[in-house]
Amino acid sequence: MTKADDFDIFYAATSRRLVRQIFAMTGDLSEAEDAVQEAYIRAWRRWPRIRNYEDPEAWLRVVAYRITVNSWHKARNRLTAHRAGRQRELAGLSPDLVALVSALRKIPETQRRAIVLRYLAGLSVEEIAHETGAPIGTVKARLARGRRALAPLVSESDDSPQPGVAIAVAHE
């Protein structure tokens, strides 16, 4: 198997999963797509080394996440356009998912990342600590605080979609 074949198989197996996870962390699908693709470009340029990592997918997730965070920092002066883009994207989501995206955006970035890694990527607390570089206790605290902050919104939309929630999001 050539290096390119190996990379292509890995890309086919992991890229969509990473887009899901980065999308859940950012709430912006196009931003997630861009970040994930950029991460794979960087991975390809170092593929002989990265392919031998214990978990190449984790490396890509970290890189893609950092790309999005950096883009947020760069986009501070373009905040209006950024928000406009997000609103357009939310239009395609069902009300309960809009509420979830909104709820995720309201919690701190570190808590959001921990929640997504735990409940979407299925990582253990120890694995999250390793990936984020935070102590295990800190990860547990982030998860607990994130769950606490999200619980009212998530449980409301879980039982019956609340129009009020969607309205609140629309005005955000």
Partner: protein, 191 residues
């Protein structure tokens, strides 16, 4: 509650699956390759004359670095295929382009994770060896074992320059590295 989170997040994942549009892997590889070529082209711009031509040929081969062979008698722009070898940085490429490295030695060099300082040290070693060989009419090249020993011993550029390295055996290099001699002491030894 965790089930609720997982279920809700799975809904988001489903949305991403339905709407995400990703480029084919081949397209991303192509972008990565073009980026590498551009960066190598930037390094080549730093070099002049014949070295420039060499560096340009490096970018085209996409295998790392190609150096003119001194004693092999082969074409000076022939590439060295080395699938799986490390990618050299622009700094490393620049330093190596200034050194005198044969194709055989280069294949070994590229498999090592050399720092720019180590490569610079090797460049000094090669030039020193070339000067000595030139004076004696010999065309002897450094062996792979000697290269490995230089890398392992982590000699500095100053140490190597003072050493007059060419005729040292691997054991001698290692012994000198252990002795932690100064540049002046090494110069005395080399003389």
């Amino acid at each position: 509650m965790p089930e609720t989170f997982s279920t809700q997040l799975a809904g988001l994942a489903g949305y991403a699956d339905r709407n995400a549009s990703l480029a084919p892997a081949a397209a991303l590889r192509g972008r990565g390759n073009r980026r590498t070529l551009r960066r190598r082209g930037g390094a080549a711009a730093l070099l002049g004359g014949g070295a420039l031509a060499i560096a340009i040929s490096l970018g085209v081969t996409n295998t790392g670095v190609v150096m003119p062979a001194r004693s092999t008698g082969s074409s000076s722009t022939e590439s060295v295929p080395s699938p799986g070898s490390v990618q050299l940085t622009a700094d490393q490429t620049t330093v190596l382009a200034k050194a005198h490295v044969t194709e055989a030695n280069l294949a070994v060099l590229k498999k090592m994770h050399l720092t720019p300082l180590q490569i610079k040290a090797l460049g000094v070693a090669y030039r020193t060896a070339q000067q000595i060989a030139g004076a004696g009419g010999s065309d002897e090249q450094l062996t792979v074992a000697q290269i490995a020993s230089v890398v392992k011993a982590k000699l500095t550029v100053a140490q190597l320059a003072a050493l007059g390295y060419a005729n040292m055996t691997v054991a001698q290099i290692e012994a000198i590295a252990k002795a932690d001699l100064t540049a002046a002491q090494l110069a005395a030894l080399g003389g």
